[in-house]
Symmetry: C2
């Protein structure tokens, strides 16, 4: 395969670092690697295949000649550099929320809708990591039976909120058991020994922006504007791997055995049957989405409930972007 010129914007963040690790793990055909950051991170180094690569301060010329550019920053930073990224003519796979609902930009989950990427789509959006994991878990069910509505409660890991969140959590782990106070440097409450049922800013209808992503992005990825998804996002004191309690109302009648078989056949899923169950600790560093607790729902007609877990940095953010990049490299480059 052709060796590629790869650029990572936001290389020093949690998602950027994970992506770089995954390119190394998968022996992705990186010919040259340009790492970009802001004022704070530029000048520091990240190791890739034994070589320390210096992070450069991103500017308008940073993207020239790139085959693939990964965006691992928040939306406002993506927005700032988007004109220069576009001018580079490279493929841009963006982890921020900026382009996700833009109708000219494909929103991609490999294993679901890579076919939506055309050669001329130089801008590609990576979905929210919770959406990626939940959709991957239910996709074989969606294909076989159709889904009209979903109720989702998320158990979301601290690393999903970035470095600052992890720093607060790690200090709490260290000091709280010794009865020492830890300032709330990131979350509005202590997260160690607690759960925080509010992720992101709350909107007028009472949902947070994080909760609305599941339906908004889910409809686009599944190409089904009728699916209704209600989501409650809760931060839990887990370092990495998001989990979701999911109930899906199906359009066609089903059996639990049929669903287990469909899930068991999906190559990216790991299915657990009782007494085994998926958990965050078992899901760390894996590309798999783990599913279990599959059962006929007792409250709603023709509905199934399940529990799924996956490493939101590996499968959810970095890995999803890398799988998308592999598809682009194989298909268009």
């Amino acid at each position: 395969m052709k060796q590629l010129k790869i650029t990572v914007l936001g290389a020093s963040g949690i998602v950027g670092r994970e992506l770089i690790r995954l390119m190394e793990r998968d022996n992705f055909p990186v010919g040259s690697l340009t790492l970009l950051g802001g004022e704070k991170s530029s000048g520091s180094f990240i190791c890739f295949k034994g070589e320390d690569i210096k992070i450069k301060k991103a500017d308008k010329k940073s993207f020239e000649g790139s085959d693939i550019i990964f965006g691992c920053t928040k939306a406002s930073i993506t927005k700032e550099f988007l004109p220069f990224i576009k001018a580079s003519k490279g493929y841009f796979i963006d982890n921020s929320s900026l382009l996700r609902l833009d109708e000219n930009v494909p929103l991609i989950v490999p294993n679901i809708n890579c076919h939506c990427i055309k050669k001329e789509n130089k801008l590609i959006a990576n979905p929210n990591c919770s959406t990626i994991i939940t959709l991957l878990a239910v996709y074989p069910i969606f294909e076989l039976y159709g889904i009209s509505a979903m109720e989702v409660t998320g158990f979301q890991a601290v690393s999903g909120a970035g470095q600052g969140a992890l720093e607060q959590f790690k200090k709490e782990i260290r000091y709280i058991p010794n009865r020492e106070n830890v300032p709330l440097s990131f979350f509005p409450e202590t997260i160690f020994g607690n759960v925080i049922p509010m992720i992101g800013a709350s909107s007028e209808n009472g949902f947070t922006d994080e909760e609305l992503k599941m339906q908004n992005e889910g409809r686009k990825i599944l190409d089904d504007s009728s699916i209704k998804i209600n989501c409650t996002c809760v931060r839990v004191p887990v370092e990495r791997c998001h989990s979701f309690s999911v109930t899906a109302v199906l359009k066609k009648s089903f059996t639990v055995e049929g669903i287990k078989k469909a899930l068991g056949n999906a190559p990216y899923l790991r299915e657990y049957s009782e007494p085994y169950f998926p958990s965050p600790l078992k899901s760390e560093k894996s590309m798999s989405v783990c599913v279990g607790r599959i059962r006929k729902n007792m409250a709603f007609e023709n509905a199934v409930s399940l529990f799924c877990c996956s490493d939101q940095l590996v499968r959810g953010a970095g890995g999803n972007a890398l799988e998308t990049a592999k598809y682009i490299a194989e298909t268009f480059l």
Copy 2:
């Protein structure tokens, strides 16, 4: 008020200790206090109002002359002593699951159905703590609008599984951050930094016994055999206080404002509006059930979603039993 002869079976367990603390806190009219345990705990002391009371080994004569007996053991122990408890003619308030679904035994949540206790009901069952908290949170909604179905996902504290569970968790908190191994002395996995989506034994239909309690007990407490409740119980690394993500489908049309008002008027509820939210740490030691994140559900017709938290030892087990005892003392003794 008459000073009562109180007996606690299972005094040294988590629920027993909490109950004794609450009797002290509330200045419950304890004339004499008999503390009972098994082989392991008998001979040890528990402090009540400054006095160290020795735990006696329970035998057939232990219950004689009691006005109120609290059962704070598991079902098999309750079963063993039930004939002697019955012979004592005292009121027996049992925290175990033994009598909950017995049609001759009222299953009581004060603030909901104390009126079901008649003078001659000497056996009274205390519901599962998750059921108590969830029902208290939705009860004003149930009264005003009726509920046809509920979807519940629980974030359940480690102390809900008893002393052995807390011991594993506390060792993990102490040793895992130092990269030392901790044996799995209670849970099938590490609970620190993890979530375990399986509480209790799984039954043939894929639900655990813990998950089935919510519907079975809920129907009896609400005196509504038609309500459908689907439950997913997940253990989280929280020391005390259970939380629940709840969606309820209502029978009558509603407004979110109407629901907030109804919940705000319930004396035992503490209602949070955005940007505030209930959390386990904020709920510790309180008799309140905290509710928040109240919003119109996006997936189901005429449904409301909310998040609730309460100290499952205080409001859920010990406190529920004590409130029931207060009702009995005031009404029948």
